[in-house]
Subunit: 220 residues, 2 copies
Amino acid sequence: MLNYSTSEENYIKAVYHLQLTDDSVTTNEVAGYLKTKPASVTDMMKKLKAKKLLNYERYRGFRLTAEGTKVALGIIRRHRLWEYFLAEKLRFNWDEVHEVAEELEHITNKKLVDKLDEFLGYPRTDPHGDPIPDANGKIEVTRKICLTELPVNKTATVNSVSDQSSKILELLEHKKISIGTRLEIKKRFEFDKSLEIRIGRQPAFTISSQLAENIFVTHE
Amino acid sequence: MLNYSTSEENYIKAVYHLQLTDDSVTTNEVAGYLKTKPASVTDMMKKLKAKKLLNYERYRGFRLTAEGTKVALGIIRRHRLWEYFLAEKLRFNWDEVHEVAEELEHITNKKLVDKLDEFLGYPRTDPHGDPIPDANGKIEVTRKICLTELPVNKTATVNSVSDQSSKILELLEHKKISIGTRLEIKKRFEFDKSLEIRIGRQPAFTISSQLAENIFVTHE
DNA sequence: AATTATTTTTAGTTTTGTCTAAATTTATTT
DNA sequence: AAATAAATTTAGACAAAACTAAAAATAATT
């Protein structure tokens, strides 16, 4: 397994994440994601293509190759293991771990990563509820859906929150909704798309469509 | 507190370490320590001088300023905390931790470092026996001396081993000498400078001058 | 289909950190 | 003290990764 620079790794990771929702990833999307300029993206894409980490024809967008995906999963494995470490062992709040993990993920020493995994007890998901690839790069496919798409009376587990502003966190805290909370929708109101939801056996309460749109859940 | 690049940090750390034994640090010493070229050292020293991290007049060698020392102690604090983490929590051997800590030390996030310190229980020394600076940059001054200089019948604690080759480690293991071992010299033989030493109440045994020259101890 | 707008790429700079080779300064010998 | 050796610095080049501005290709409109 070759070694890649921090910068190369950041681009690989960006393409991986953008690929999950978009079929083919564009220059502008990557530039937006990494807060860099399109010209810089083109430069790097040429380089990663030469290293056979992604397929790319000019003006046609990019997709990771099998090898590129393997590299991406290694980065994501490291990122999520460190996030878990920060939250579980160092008692960081779950909304503070990402930034620090962005730096730790670039240390590629295999023994470090595998020993960390062992120390943590081989966690399956990070503090945001996203699955952690194993040492072979295998990752659970969780079909994560938006809470707005969850059928009525189907119990689901809160997996992630797309917006991480303090405003939404304040609201979630007040409603006692956090990562890992199991809930179900009891009723949808067509007028304002608000949802009546229930956590366990507690009394049902209402959340707005704006809030629901930012909550993602897994079920089954 | 400003932020410095990985490269700048490596030079600062090199000067700090070389300063401990040498009064003034030279270009060639730093180049040798960092396995880089003298011309590169000169370039960087100019830059660090401009940032007021060290004093330097051309052809005259370098010394860290108070500010430079503060930065160096921050790097050393991070390095040694991670070494402790790797050895104590991830069960790395004490001779494997340095290399990985060289990478981890460059992550400067203060909350990470202080939380790590807390998680580890505020350790005083790293796995090599070297003191860990506290959050304010305060470091214990341990007068570390070579085992060859230890007076007879004075109990001392093994602090570090200068050579880290597998050959010396094999010998140390056989003699049951490791970091933290408390021992005293019972007799010195002038002829070959060999030493008769005793660990606790066990029977005394002999070690060669070549071995003793590589063992450093603290006493009092 | 031609024009306009958008996206992407190219070309040329910039910054950081490294290097080699040559020049300069300091140290050591004879 | 002059000559030689060693250490250090300067000058100029290079690679990586970013940027700006202009050119080229693609997409969207009229």
